[in-house]
Assembly symmetry: C2
Homo-oligomer: 490 residues x 2
């Protein structure tokens, strides 16, 4: 059983009502100032108390010379300070009664030498005062549902459903823009840094109980608490999927990891085993990590691995079929009933076999209503994979050629595209089966944007789409194993 999220020790770190902020100043080029500004850019609604030895005001906020002067006990301390004053600041926070901290400052264990001892001292102080903290040497956290972002980059998406715990801060901050391209967002994301106190397993546990989080993404350079990782994951998997990208499995990855965080990465097979046993889906890149999260967090459970491909062009259909087959997805045949339904929509130049290829000669609306309806009604369809292409300029051009005025075209072409997309989402609501799309169009394309806004995951090319579908089916297979094993134990 997952515990209530508010009881979780990390709750106040990502849902603070008030923050003591150390390291921001009126020097605009200081990292602390940048982070304070990105926190405010997301319109954080709680109180922010900048603590600064000399200033009475920092970035327009009243500043306090000491944390002891702050008028209430802040829920959270954020430290972006020179290494040498972090320990004394942690102590002062403890004395003020603060119980949660994020230490962004580096120069600890990851630097070796004195840093190792300094980190030990930091842990001792925190333990003495009962402070739970993230870091040191991290890039902070973001919880857009709470308008919280303590990283140096602006959060760009609406609040989302991907919970992230990352042993690289870059894959929290530097993917804000990446995710926004796909209209994806974080529920809550942690850059765990050196994991001196709170580690990736703690974050996983928090995200497991967080109701905004529908899927958990992990970027892993090394897991220290292997048994706890497996147990925690197994307790989460029955309720939500976990996807992990592990980077230390190759020789080159291992070396890079060591120079990045000093973690001793383990052999690839060991991690394969750990993930397998945990029910965690393994991704092979950061791109896959978020691709998998997209479909897992957004689509209903497929009945199995049987993929039906719908296209209006033979090439993309053949490519999708080829790739699906290569990675172990099945392309089912159709019942006679479905075949006869399809015959009404597909001309003889097209194909009513899987992939279903309408070709270019028929009514566009069939592609968005009659055909997907028939395909989703087909018992053999577990997942529908559709090729999307409808250049706005082509729609507009056709309308112009029909003699429509420029003003009319603008509204009519948008209306037409909206009608197609509404048709698709209407049918999806009736049938609880997953739809995945692929395209070679730019994601700026109006049609693609309309589909994305209706929650249809669309990938640039069928390769990523097929791998994501595979991950989707894999999760439910693994979940079943874990649930079964749980029942047998009971």
């Amino acid at each position: 059983m997952l515990s209530s999220v508010k009881e979780n020790p990390l709750y106040k770190i990502v849902n603070p009502e008030s923050i003591a902020f150390f390291g921001a100043s009126n020097n605009v080029s200081a990292m602390g100032t940048t982070i304070l500004n990105s926190l405010r850019a997301l319109d954080f609604e709680g109180a922010i108390y900048p603590v600064h030895p000399h200033e009475t005001e920092v970035q327009g906020l009243k500043a306090y010379q000491s944390v002891l002067d702050v008028p209430e006990i802040p829920d959270l301390a954020v430290m972006v300070l020179p290494t040498k004053i972090v320990c004394e600041t942690m102590k002062a926070c403890g004395e003020r009664g603060i119980k949660h901290a994020i230490v962004i400052s580096g120069g600890f264990k990851e630097s070796g030498g004195d840093g190792v001892n300094l980190e030990k001292r930091l842990i001792e102080i925190a333990n003495r005062y009962g402070i739970r903290f993230i870091g040191p040497n991290c890039l902070g956290v973001t919880n857009p549902h709470h308008k919280l972002n303590t990283t140096f980059l602006r959060y760009e998406s609406p609040p989302g459903y991907i919970g992230m715990a990352s042993q690289s801060g870059s894959f929290v901050t530097q993917v804000f823009n990446y995710l926004s391209q796909y209209r994806l967002g974080f529920s809550t994301a942690f850059s765990v840094g050196n994991e001196a106190d709170i580690d990736i397993v703690d974050c996983m546990e928090y995200l497991g109980s967080c109701s905004h989080t529908r899927v958990i993404a992990l970027y892993v350079e090394g897991i220290r608490r292997g048994r706890e990782f497996i147990e925690t994951a197994r307790s989460i998997i029955p309720e939500k999927p976990i996807v992990a990208y592990y980077v230390g499995g190759s020789e080159t990855g291992k070396k890079a990891v060591f120079s990045h965080t000093g973690a001793m990465a383990g052999p690839d097979r060991l991690y394969d085993g750990v993930f397998r046993q945990s029910g965690v889906i393994r991704a092979n890149s950061v791109t896959e990590l978020f691709d998998f999260c997209w479909v897992l967090g957004n689509l209903p459970e497929p009945g199995g691995r049987k993929v039906v491909i719908q296209t209006h062009s033979g090439g993309p259909g053949a490519e999708a079929a080829d790739i699906c087959g290569r990675i172990g997805l099945e392309l089912p045949d159709f019942s006679d009933e479905t075949t006869s339904k399809l015959s009404a929509f597909v001309p003889h130049t097209g194909s009513i076999q899987n992939p279903v290829d309408i070709t270019f000669s028929k009514n566009w609306m069939d592609f968005f209503s009659g055909i997907p309806k028939a395909l989703l009604e087909e018992e053999n369809t577990d997942i529908l994979l559709m090729y999307f292409l409808m250049p706005s300029e082509m729609v507009e051009q056709s309308m112009a050629l029909m003699g429509m005025s420029k003003e009319k075209i603008e509204t009519e072409s948008k209306k037409f595209i909206k009608m197609c997309c509404d048709a698709i989402s209407g049918i999806l609501k009736e049938h609880n089966k997953p739809l995945v799309g692929f395209t070679y169009r730019s994601f700026r394309d109006h049609f693609i944007q309309e589909l994305l806004s209706r929650g249809v995951p669309i990938f640039p090319g069928p390769e990523r789409a097929a791998r994501a579908i595979k991950a989707l089916t894999r999760y439910y297979e693994l979940r079943e194993e874990i649930v079964k094993a749980g029942r047998q134990r009971d």
Copy 2:
């Protein structure tokens, strides 16, 4: 030896001075009209003679009731006609002395039944009059260097260097927009259709001798002239690379191909062998096909497989290192000299090993000049793989915080980004080594656009970048084998 391009029988098909156009009308929804319009949209400079049984004018152009009435012998006939009148039209073209045609009309061999005989008749007529033709059942050709586009979609990029021969018309037309996102373009692209006369081998031969074509892309559903394919490819490889995506190798791909073009696809291993023997690089998707073309057509020859990674963030560096290692690229160590040069730029929080990680604490310009210079001077560097991230809004934000006026920021931030990009391209000119980039930013990003415009291939994530680098190194290995074998034969 490759023959002169002007002697090639396909030359006039993609470089016509005049075109007889069959199938365009004043009915704006007719496919022929759409194609005529996209031909004119690219500002084709030759003469266009629409032939139409009733109209005296088609889309504002003087129309001719018969091709016999056209005032000169057109270099090319384009037919977008009902199946049943294609043969008689071909005959009329022959009588007028036309020697080249593109038959877009379908309903021939691919439809089975009567279509098979109709295609035989079409070939007989063409042979009788010495007409070489593309199709039937194709989507046309494009040669943007000659402002020619006989497909139904608008060509979107500047003239490029990728020569394409495709057994799916979609992968000519429907990638116009795709390529433009990466600032890539076609030199000449053929949709070969049923290959009744001109086939994919003929197109390869043409593209081999075409000076605008620096790399050849093939989309293959089935090769009929295997020996000629191998011989032609081997004659081209010493001068330019060929990349092929073969879709019929899996069971699912094979079935899809059969229902798409009726081609009988062969086993995967057979094609692997054919490509291997031909010196052709095999891609596993359309995305890879163009990724590989991008680096092969645009980058100098690398000395070998040794990749040096440059980053300012540990995570992306570790990911790149892991992926490079997994696919068989090497990450070399540096000489003492390089290490000492790097020490001057990289703070102790960073890494002067491979991946070189400057971290966030230093002067940005070092990242674009001092460090890549040192890395390209290093003897062990065959290829430089760089992580790119510089959000315009961050640059602008820093400038705003420094108190710059809004007007000044606009010009200064662009100037700063330009300076960084110029620095990189300056260094690349001095050192004849390939640079490949990757990013998680949107390709709309100003910085990414500036890099692309300087010819730096940039991939979304290191996975595609690494696979493209592998293809780049593979070509030169295969080329050496072929050149050696040629020498031994002599």
